[in-house]
Symmetry: C2
Subunit: 352 residues, 2 copies
């Protein structure tokens, strides 16, 4: 006698995570999901073509060894055993929550930040709690306090939507005070002035996650990774699907992470455009939070952000309207090419 | 004050799933993980090359619409909303367990069958229970009985290691008796005489999973899917990562599922070689279970299966030695090309 709803009660209660719009047709200037406006290094396309030509009938390397070796070298890590690769850093975040947070236990995130952490807690039947940033985007001391029911804390660094960064020494101090591991989500770290990779050698309570979606222009590839001490990586390994990364993405990611000159050049271009965007948005009357990511968070003192978003969308320019209850709303605008940024800024100047 | 082991107790207790050997170097005749010996359709390589050339800087379609539309048409389903695509059918199985089975609840599988189901239960902190097949690879009536703590049952059909199939009418009857949903894992169904896709219209308790790894020669791509009623698919959607399938795999899978002539030709070749392998193994004195999959399960009345496996491996021929405690052991040999099968059979004839 089948039950009519076979799903776990946690599912019925939860709000699914809704990613930014991904129009599959139409000619949008797309500045809403922090994609890189430039194509990935040519070496990536070559690696994909070669891997496809070699045939896909065999299972991939279960642990993406070639990528992990290359990444350890480029990032100055002791060895590949400090890295777990995943199907996007989304999968890495999922693995971390599944490995560490049980039903009814708690995880913590700052507010406003990446809403996905809440969804991951909801799926797990866990409880999330938010600590509001202070007005200067610092974290209050309370973020580092908790009891044994607090199992995991997330810190996006740079944060979204703000693009702000806590320096490594503050992050380490936070990790040392917390009663649980700290995940430093460095999706945007290549665009910032500092990162926390070095902390994993100093603390077995720090996990640093990275993605190739943003700074390597490979959002379509789905490839991310986590860096942590080897005994932690070994436990996370138990959770992942046997073949979570495919042959094409392993080949592409290995080529991408080796493209250090390309990365430096790409990041320099993004930062230059970001600087121009920030200046012009300020001239237009927005309050602009100085960004260390590939997007800019801006709020206008008088105009409706929702209306600005909708007016831009009617002109085929997509930005992200974000509304954080009990906190406020604003526009998060990804850094595009100079032409894309100019089109968006021009349209905004006409709307204000 | 960080705890020394931050992981859920379920992880410490569990045995990680160990997939078949995947030697990354060396010239093995690889008949151990049921890969297809032939390359995927040329249309797949073309689709990958085109998608890579178009650039990967944008996020993929979150719901793999192009694949789902094409698959619904090819498989005769009412529409794409009956399909959820995943990063290999491993991810689909993971999503099903996470969506339906809570901590401390139970899932059921036949024995011997696919050990991964047990791992998925272990990760979830759930309890797995096995029902032994009868001697003719039928299921005892007890497999269909249970109380409300039984949340999910798995039926690999064709089964591994046996390659045997329960006909759709028996599967439907089983689903109607069970107190929980039934996942019919059809990883090998394209090689069989029947399948259960039609059952999803008749019952909201049936989920049918498929993979492109075996019959489409795309194990390296990681692409699988589940077919079920739309209201069930909508709930599963909440669990998956936002972008669980990448741009390349969606393009490749869409091209693959449309390659119906290629599939028919490939399956015919595999079946012909399977038939030859079964005949010859029988001549060599093995007890051979008639297979409806792309592998053959055989047991020798006198010889040590472990030693045969090791002797073959020394000759660079990899087959799968499988030992099921309280049940028995044997060799599972994937159907290769005729040349690969002949090499394996010749070596076996010399070892016996």
């Amino acid at each position: 006698m089948p039950s009519s709803n076979p799903f776990r009660p946690a599912l019925a209660k939860m709000q699914p995570y809704v990613p930014g719009e991904q129009p599959q047709g139409g000619k949008f200037i797309k500045l809403n999901t922090n994609e890189n406006p430039y194509p990935a290094p040519a070496a990536v396309t070559d690696a994909i073509t070669a891997a496809a030509a070699a045939g896909l009938q065999r299972y991939p390397d279960p642990t993406a060894s070639s990528f992990r070796r290359q990444a350890a070298e480029v990032l100055g890590l002791p060895g590949p055993e400090w890295i777990l690769a995943g199907n996007g850093s989304d999968e890495i975040l999922t693995i971390l929550v599944r490995a560490i947070v049980g039903e009814g236990q708690r995880l913590r995130l700052p507010y406003p930040s990446y809403i996905l952490y809440r969804t991951l807690a909801d799926i797990q039947g866990a409880v999330w709690e938010q600590t509001a940033f202070e007005s200067d985007w610092k974290l209050p001391a309370a973020f580092g306090e908790g009891d044994e029911d607090l199992r995991l804390a997330f810190l996006p660094n740079p944060n979204s939507p703000s693009g702000t960064v806590l320096p490594p020494e503050e992050v380490l101090s936070l990790a040392e005070r917390l009663p649980c591991p700290l995940v430093v989500d460095e999706a945007y770290a290549d665009f910032a002035d500092s990162h926390c990779l070095d902390l994993v050698r100093q603390s077995d309570q720090v996990f640093v996650t990275r993605t190739l979606s943003k700074s390597y222009a490979l959002a379509g590839l789905r490839f991310g990774f986590v860096v942590a001490q080897p005994q932690l990586i070994a436990e996370l390994q138990k959770i992942k699907d046997s073949y979570n990364c495919d042959t094409l993405s392993i080949a592409a990611a290995t080529a991408a992470i080796a493209s250090t000159d390309w990365l430096a050049d790409n990041v320099a271009k993004i930062k230059a455009t970001r600087s121009r965007m920030q200046d012009r948005l300020t001239e237009l009357g927005f309050n602009v939070t100085p960004s260390q990511a590939n997007f800019v968070w801006c709020q206008h003192p008088h105009k409706s952000h929702k209306e600005l978003y909708e007016q831009l969308k009617r002109s085929q320019i997509l930005v992200r309207y974000m509304n954080f209850p009990q906190w406020g709303d604003g526009l998060r605008i990804s850094v595009g090419t100079d032409d894309q940024a100019d089109a968006c800024l021009l349209m905004l100047s006409q709307l204000l």
